[in-house]
Symmetry: C2
Subunit: 189 residues, 2 copies
Amino acid sequence: MALRHAVLAALLDEELSGYQLAKAFDLGVANFWHALPQQLYAELAKLEKEGLVAGREVVQDTRPNKRLFTVTEAGLAELDRFAATANKPSFIRDDLFVKVQAADHVDVDELIAQLTERAAIAEAKIELWGGLLRQMRGDRSEEEFLRHGERIGPYLTCLRGLAFEQGNLDWCRRSAAILRERRAAHAPR
Amino acid sequence: MALRHAVLAALLDEELSGYQLAKAFDLGVANFWHALPQQLYAELAKLEKEGLVAGREVVQDTRPNKRLFTVTEAGLAELDRFAATANKPSFIRDDLFVKVQAADHVDVDELIAQLTERAAIAEAKIELWGGLLRQMRGDRSEEEFLRHGERIGPYLTCLRGLAFEQGNLDWCRRSAAILRERRAAHAPR
DNA sequence: TCATTCATGTAACCTGTTACATGATTTG
DNA sequence: CAAATCATGTAACAGGTTACATGAATGA
């Protein structure tokens, strides 16, 4: 039941609408949790009913009206309570890993193509996270920001995201290279 | 629907019982997919009914009887078909990340403790993966094994697991250190 | 004018988790 | 003698995904 807490954590820094939240939790940009728009709208409704967030209507004439949400005192308390609970161990579930596990029994060309594709995705994310980090620390050095910056939570999760994607990139490239070499060795000429 | 393919991939190297599979997919040892015993028994039943795996009863007098499963030709074909499908992008869902995201609003001591705990888990896994890798390559060097070894699929996924946990370890330690420093700076004396 | 973005949902479905059940054997 | 390991499941529930719906405004 961590989705609600992820939503609360996302609303700490800024007031957001369901739509904006959905963009933050999107696969392409989520650096600490992922969720679909449907889940978020449903969760926001529940959170509001329970008084953990408060919504206010913003009338727009050029755009459809929207509701912006803020974390309430009760919401903050709930988040703090959650922070003290035990973590469920995190697990691996990735299609690509399954395919690589079966590398010796499936079409290698296809695998190499998918590793290359994943590498490209990782590269794009690395640039995205890199830019986000630069934006957060502004003109300060990383060390300076980590010591004295306000709001370092998002910075830290973003650092993990960056390192994770760097790891993906390295592994995908290396694995693809190894598979290419073996293919060449097994079917020479 | 990748659980079935993960099961097929796990059965490629050796004939296993549901119980043995469950141990391989356990949180502590799963290097390419995680699942609970209940899921695995159910999935094995489905896979057998569909003819993708074949089970054979092994009678034991000292232990309860068990059923060992092998991948059939149809199963291999299904795995190969799966390997050619598009990957769903992998996403992040980790309680600890949510807590770190909220670092500036929750109890810092608690967070540091949890980061330290996670670091210890990562260390244990690093040793586990390291040992597994050594065992797989035997007396060969890594380069030699990657070039000419049979079954490199499991080796590659294990390498990713190792690097992932190393990344976790580094990040947990660094984040904890940063939070400790800031705590000291904000509440001196 | 057609696709994309803004903005918010409902409903059906599939997957994964939690709780529970059973029973024999080895290890401490 | 109690706990852990071997061995296999069922049932209820929570969480996440897919499909679908609506409607206005902007950009190509």
